[in-house]
Structures are given as structure tokens and as C-alpha cells.
Symmetry: D2
């Protein structure tokens, strides 16, 4: 919808308990603010952010690596199978107006790099220490900053 | 969401008035049945099907060719920029459990062919006469048949 | 190399004996003319055109659906795994300045449609009868016409 | 061809003079060893590695972001337009059996991350200091190590 805000949330499929809690709170806060959550649609941080968003009545979009929807986590509202494998990382970044990274391994690093290359804001919570990533103290700050930066881009 | 049904609706960006009406009714009926509409997100048949779905309270997903959301029609609920140009035709097909084709030019033909190659049901309304396309008399029949075939695939 | 000509040759993975012979001659003639052969890199028409081209000292480029090179036929000079499954059909079309279709099933039809949508010349040998496809009597005519049209595009 | 080795060489489009020299030597040495050079096909490190490889009689493959071949550097032997924009970074990585990174900005970082995620060896020359990248003292060492690791994977 015109005016809708899309925030890509990225992170590991096998996160620490702490990163999982963080992701869940990020999802909840994005949903409360009325923003869409975009993610890779699978487990770990992806499942946690979707769970948090759905609990708060939000909408989550999962761009899946395979050609079927079976591997989507159960909190994905809209499951889009791409059949592009890990190339779908780039689609997740393209679909977000801003990116929040929570922890993460090499897949997350590739998404951070693609987002920075595209000039999109990247907010970091306990993630890769790459020049250009804006480190945030907590989920509340990360969500507020992401939405502020998206708003600024539009004015 | 588990159990959600996704129907890709494809057709020309510059359709006849009749194809546009057809697409709008297809969108309305899909929304009334609670199915998601997947499409290329732009004008013509894509705009008409989204308009019809949204008027009936439905959700529409537009997979866009460019890297921005600006070229989405205003009735797209979830706009996903792919930056893949016409290769996104293949993503539209992948994201649908069944395909309804309304009129259409070469882009539509490529989607019909990809859907048939993938073994997905293709319901046709005034579209390319390709072996494998199941011609339908009207939007009501096309929507009913699409949902029936999706249901059958799942049992 | 500047000035190089790329011809995409498309067709079924399980062709008739006649289509296979046709494809082999197309490959041979393209190689003799110094043009590159682009294809999907696998079996059937794809293997035949590569075999013909390689026998005449030509270069063949196979854009593969999987992430490995193992499924390339043995006459592919340059094997490019895409990991995009059947979406790589669109890459084959993009990589050709003109397209020669030999027989073929739904995958071939999707490539014909994408090529016509992109405004590329499509020369047909015993293939889908789609408006816009230029039917050719034999491989010699198809190759000559493809190279003529590429030359004309450049002037 | 069966047994062919493909090395992806990645780096900035606006490199330092030193990185450019490094890339040119990498290209020359890969060509001398009979390996194919895969790259993004454009300027900077991509042009330098192609220039070096071509001077030594090698073959270079450029996977381009746009839909045309015009933006390929003049030392690309095989130019493959993908029309996928920066998503083609992932295709460059997929097409290499090993990756040599020379300097580089965010695009290079995304390729390093995708390669490490895919379990491919990444040899670094004055590039991002990411865990998993094997730093090399000079082009000779990087090329020798890349080819050794590819050979080991095959045995």
C-alpha cells in the first residue's frame, strides 16, 4: 500500500537465545508501528522476528530459498518461494527500505554488504562490525531509528 | 500462513476493456474466497485484479521488475521489488499454487509456459491457446477451478 | 570480445532424432561462422548443438539450472552454474543476440516468449507456431538469418 | 570442458593503482595455469584481471549486471548479460570453484560472504579482514593456493 514501510530483518538460522529474544522484540515493535517485516522466511532469527510480529498483529513476508512453501516458519504471513537458493538474500535486501541485522553468520554478512552497497540504512544489534553498520543498544532503538530513516528518505 | 492459497493472475499491461473487467472480477472472487492474489504488480490486468481484490478486502502481492516500489499499482498490498526485470515473470509463477491467465501478450505466454513446465494448473480466460491451458467460460468458473485444483494438490 | 556474436539455441531435453540432428548442424554452422553458442548446458538439443559446435572448433556456453557443473553436457566449453532452476531460461535468452529454437516443449516455449518480449529475433526449426517466430526451412537458413539479423541490429 | 577450473576474481570498480596491478598479475597467472577467470565484467579490478588474463592468452567470463553487453570491459572473452543488477554478484561466486578477492568495497564483501557461506575457498589480497578469508602475500601465492584447493576438492 502507498506509504507502507518495509523493514528487512536478517540474522542467523541458528542464533543464540539472546539474539532470538532480540529478534522477537524487533518483530513485535515493528508490528506495533505498523511496518511490514521482510525476512528469509525460515528458522532462527527469521522465525523469531515473525513470531514477535504476528503476536502483535503484524504482517510478515518470507522470501524463501526453495520452490515450495513448506520450509516457511509458521509465523510467515506471505510466503514467496523464489527457487534461487542463497541468491534470495539479495531479494530480501531489495524488499526492505531499511535493514535490521541481529547477530548472524556469513549469509547475514552478505545481506549487510548488499544493503550498504545499495545505500540502505543498516541497523546492527550484536552483529558484524562493518563500517557503515549503525550499532544500536536495543531493539527499541533499532526499530525507532529504522523507521526514522525511512521517513527521512521519503521527505 | 499455513493453509493459505496463492493464485497468480497474469495478463497484459495494456489489456482490452473486456480483459480488464474480467481481471477485476477474478480479483474480487479470489478475495471473497480468502485466497491471496499474486501478480507482477504493475498496470493493466495486474492493476485490475488488484483493484478487484482490494475492493473485496483481499490481499495482493506484487512482484515488481524494478528495484523500487514506485511502479506498483495503488492496489498492491505487498510490493516486492525484485530488480530482475522480466525474469520476475518466473517468480510470479513460482509464487502461485495455480495460475489464471487473462488475455495477455508475450510476457503472459512466458508465464503460462513456465507454469505448465512446473506442472502447475493454468486456467485461461481469453488467452493464448496452448495445449495444457484449461479454458474457462468466465471468472467464476476460473476461480472455482483454481481453488479446487489447489485443494486437490494438498490432499 | 567486441564484435562477438552470441546465438542462443533452445530446444527439448528429450528431442526427436530429427531435432537432434538439426541442432547438431545448427551448432556446427554457428561455429563455422565464428559465433558463440549459448544454451542451457544440459542434454537433448542442448547437448546436440554443443557437440556440433565443438566438432567445428567453436565455443559453447552452458547456463546451468543447478549450483554445480556436473550436469553440464561434455561439449560445453564454459559452464556457468546459476542455481536458479528454470529461471535460468530467461538468462539464456538474455545472453543471446538472436535465438534459434529447435523443436521443444514448455521450457522452450517460455524462452521463445521471453525472447519475443525482449524484441530479439527468434528463428524456428520445427518448433512452436507462435506469431513472431520466423520459421526456417533448414539449419543453414536459420543460422544465416540469425547472423544477418544480428549484423543489422548493430548497424 | 571437463576438468576446467574456474576462478572468480572480485574487487572494486575503482581500485587503487596497487590493487589494479595485483589483479592484472592474478589474471596473467591464472591464464598461464590454464584456468578460466570469472568476474563481474566491468571496470577496475574486473578490467585489470581480464587484461592480464587476455595478455597471457586466457579466457575471461564476465557476468554483467545489465541486459546488454556494452558495459563489458574490452578484455572480456565471454560476456553474459544477466539483467539482475547487483544480484549478479551471487552468480559470479556460484560460477567460481574458488574466489580471489583483491581490495574491494561493499560489493566485494557481499561476494566474499556468499562464497564463505557456500563453503568455497576465498583467497585475499589486501581485502576485507573477515574470518575465513585466507590472506595471501602476493598474486603468485593466491593463484597457486586457489588452484591447489580446487584440485583437492576434486580428489
Amino acid at each position: 500500500l502507498p506509504g507502507a514501510r518495509y523493514v528487512a530483518v536478517i540474522g542467523a538460522s541458528q542464533p543464540s537465545a539472546r539474539d532470538e529474544e532480540t529478534a522477537e522484540e524487533v518483530g513485535r515493535r515493528l508490528a506495533q508501528a505498523g511496518a511490514y517485516v521482510v525476512c528469509g522466511g525460515r528458522g532462527g532469527v527469521m522465525a523469531a522476528v515473525c513470531r514477535g510480529a504476528q503476536a502483535a498483529g503484524g504482517t510478515t513476508i518470507g522470501l524463501l530459498p526453495g520452490t515450495g512453501r513448506d520450509d516457511a516458519n509458521q509465523w510467515v504471513t506471505i510466503a514467496v518461494p523464489t527457487g534461487m537458493g542463497e541468491l534470495r538474500n539479495g531479494l530480501v535486501v531489495r524488499a526492505g527500505d531499511a535493514v535490521i541485522a541481529v547477530g548472524g553468520a556469513y549469509g547475514t554478512l552478505s545481506e549487510i554488504a548488499l544493503a550498504l552497497q545499495a545505500g540502505k540504512p543498516v541497523l546492527g544489534l550484536n552483529t558484524w562490525d562493518i563500517d557503515g553498520v549503525q550499532r544500536q543498544p536495543d531493539p527499541a532503538a533499532a526499530v525507532a531509528r529504522a523507521l526514522e530513516l525511512i521517513g527521512r528518505d521519503r521527505t
